[in-house]
Subunit: 144 residues, 2 copies
């Protein structure tokens, strides 16, 4: 059976996680992740295996990226069962660089949750942007 | 409770779906999809909403792509509950062009399943390749 109350819990966790990213609080960001998370991030590597590896990637990204000036979610869908849940949405991500130029793009996000010992944890995350099949260039221009 | 028997069912479906792609059999490929699938494919658009839209995208891709000479899955993880399941893996995709040059790259795949009326259906799919944060170029060179 699908569970509305679990869906509500997962939606709250996604909002808390989003606020942690906006606050650039790595401790709070990674507190949502299971120790054995396998993450497919949009940049850096094919995958990050385990919370420690993914935390190090977050730290590297925070060094490179400007402040999370734009970090908005749209078209969020959450489906929750008794012990598993998944969510996907579109994320508008960007910021303003040192020259005052704002750059932003739309990304796709998929997250899988598992409830372990009564606690929902992110066991898998997948972020990406589509690419152009002919040129191999990332399509930062696409709009929802 | 997680379900080993559901995991076994989902693994069999993934294998059947893979064989359908290798056979370039669009009817069999899309037979795995729920009518309300929302797909984040690696190319073409941010998302495809519904089986009909995603089917049209598959048809367009089959026109552009050479035969699925290389379509191998690695590091498959399947987690299945009573009514939801998810899977993720790395896919080696490529083929040989008209000049006899073989081109292949590694992609990341995430799929979410829901059991409806006793039938497991794909309700969400996410394919991607990472990009280089500085150049915006897709990283077709990454190896597992």
């Amino acid at each position: 059976m699908l569970s509305r109350s679990n869906e509500t819990q997962v939606r709250a966790l996604i909002d808390q996680w989003k606020q942690a990213v906006i606050a650039r609080d790595i401790e709070r960001i990674v507190s949502h992740y299971a120790d054995d998370i396998i993450s497919f991030d949009a940049v850096g590597a094919l995958q990050f295996k385990g919370k420690a590896a993914y935390r190090a990637h977050w730290e590297a990204c925070m060094q490179v990226c400007p402040g999370a000036g734009i970090f908005e979610f749209e078209q969020l869908r959450v489906v929750a069962g008794e012990e598993l849940a998944f969510a996907h949405w579109l994320a508008h991500c960007g910021g303003t660089d040192a020259q005052g130029v704002t750059k932003a793009c739309w990304m796709r996000v998929t997250v899988a949750y598992q409830c372990r010992d009564g606690q929902w944890q992110v066991v898998h995350e997948h972020w990406s942007a589509p690419f152009d099949m002919l040129t191999g260039t990332t399509r930062f221009d696409l709009q929802p």
